[in-house]
Symmetry: C2
Subunit: 336 residues, 2 copies
């Protein structure tokens, strides 16, 4: 039941190329011819075979978005914005879930439906600079922390500044034993390091000494890790009076652990997160957090990719910084 240009051409009594011209909006087609062709197209419910078109044109109209995990709210929200922004360019987005492992990420970066995608927006976790080297020029925009200095276009937010601001906010509430949850020593933990640096900087500015015992690592940044890390902190020698969690899901887990320990938030312990996911606006208490402009991030990434595709593929890579704000809610309000 699938028809080809040829079928339409026969039905309309014209050549294949004429039908192609109509489909592609070529100007010099006589109105009555055009009408006849369009009617034939409608009657046969013709749709172009994109594989064939792509083969011919070298463009697919599909870009890929490679993310560590789809069911991490931050990535899901980001994905929505990317899909929306891409639609404005007439692109379909193929979403690829890498799982964050190095092997899968390498495969995603180089392999996703080879020649099936025009470009890639990629939020790597485990990928290193070396991995990026062998990608024979697939147009690519990286999200998040820089993996490699200037090998590809890049969209990020100022993690250090954001972490510093939210930590400073906690200090501004008079808290002195400010813990951090989410540190990572792995090379993948680029975000973790930047946010830790911002945390440390804010402590220094507030004349609070950095205390190892208040910095809790988290293997992944899920709710369960946040809860576990919080329990660990509570069982340690120094009872924190505030916690900066390196993302919101960690913070939600921490809230849970604090609740189970019978501590009040923010009275006993103030809590802050990072990402501004939807959950944090309805959690009990609602979550103070860093709010990156996700829509902006998505749009910048898509536009950057568009520029690469339309223009000079060998132009020097660009790095864009998207804005962020503090969203102050109940878990660490403006005034207590």
């Amino acid at each position: 039941m699938r028809h080809r240009l040829k079928d339409v051409a026969e039905r309309a009594g014209v050549s294949v190329k004429t039908v192609s011209n109509v489909v592609n909006g070529y100007l010099h087609v006589r109105p009555d011819t055009r009408a006849r062709v369009e009617q034939a197209i409608a009657e046969l419910n013709y749709r172009p075979n994109l594989s064939a078109r792509n083969l011919r044109k070298g463009r697919t109209g599909v870009i890929a978005l490679a993310l560590p995990e789809l069911d991490i709210p931050y990535f899901a929200e980001l994905a929505r914005h990317v899909v929306t922004a891409a639609a404005e360019h007439g692109w379909t987005v193929l979403i690829d879930q890498t799982g964050g492992g190095p092997e899968q990420e390498r495969k995603a970066a180089s392999g996703i439906g080879d020649h099936m995608i025009d470009g890639l927006i990629f939020s790597p976790l485990a990928l290193t600079a070396d991995d990026l080297a062998g990608l024979d020029g697939m147009p690519m925009v990286l999200l998040g922390e820089r993996v490699d200095h200037g090998r590809a276009d890049h969209v990020m937010i100022d993690n250090v500044a954001a972490a510093r601001q939210i930590t400073a906010h906690l200090a501004g509430l008079g808290r002195r034993r400010i813990a951090a949850i989410g540190s990572q020593r792995t090379p993948e933990g680029a975000s973790a390091r930047l946010r830790l640096a911002g945390y440390a900087a804010a402590l220094a500015e507030a004349d609070i000494s950095y205390d190892e015992r208040l910095v809790a690592p988290a293997p992944a940044w899920h709710r369960a890790d946040g809860a576990a890390a919080m329990r660990h902190l509570l069982s340690g020698g120094v009872r924190p009076d505030a916690v900066f969690c390196f993302n919101d899901t960690l913070a939600l887990g921490a809230l849970r652990a604090l609740h189970e320990a019978g501590l009040r938030v923010p009275e006993d312990v103030a809590v802050a997160g990072f990402d501004d996911i939807e959950d944090g606006r309805f959690s009990i208490p609602t979550l103070s957090t860093v709010a990156p402009d996700k829509e902006r991030i998505a749009r910048l990434a898509v536009d950057l990719l568009a520029g690469r595709l339309d223009g000079d593929r060998d132009a020097p890579p660009r790095e864009l910084v998207a804005p962020h704000q503090l969203a102050l809610r109940e878990s660490a309000p403006d005034l207590i």
Copy 2:
């Protein structure tokens, strides 16, 4: 920098077809020839052009998953399972976000990268039976409530039974003024209707009369809608002592509204949801809910689609029911 079979063939000193044979694992290739070809492939970093392959083979290796919204946790979790299940069949999943509107859904169902996908797994909200009619046989599996009796393969859970069970649980706790949040009158509200029917059935079984005033509609099923509906119920004449929310995000919103009203959960009002999303395991309090077997749903859908693609495309449509359980947590525990 992109190479073709021809380039590999020249470098290895063989014909194009021999390279193709090696790439496709054809048996009768002499070991040394194979080795030579493989080396050439490695040296040139050759990757097949999938558009060309698809054009030739008529198969793309890509299936689409069309969902209303990616940042609804239930769909995000489902998407992850579908991607995993599809990977076992060697498929890539193109995730399409329809937004749930009729126009976009129609487009998604008929249009996504035409000829770019082998089949479609589709979770429709607004689509009607008529819309499904004009899809010239794109292999498709529907998720969720049946749109049309037997026009396409279908995977669902027993919504009526599940809603009845969780409502019965609330009644079993001794609650008598059990409210429902999430009713919808639109044709899209198929799930809403089934869950409402289950709710009503459970009330009848428990000899509780159905009270209009305890049934709150929700235009969408987001957290904000749940909170608004809960506030509305609390301001009404009848103060509920339990609430069954038609999904978990509604329930999380309801928890928030109850908290703001100073009511304790579950002591004053027990709360139950539907979907068993990750959030509900860490919310305060944790959420009692219906837990559909999402992994099973995804696997059944993918397998059903695989059957369609490999086998008889005109076989009568099948409807499969995936299991569900009750996950009883703090918001409506087993015993109070």
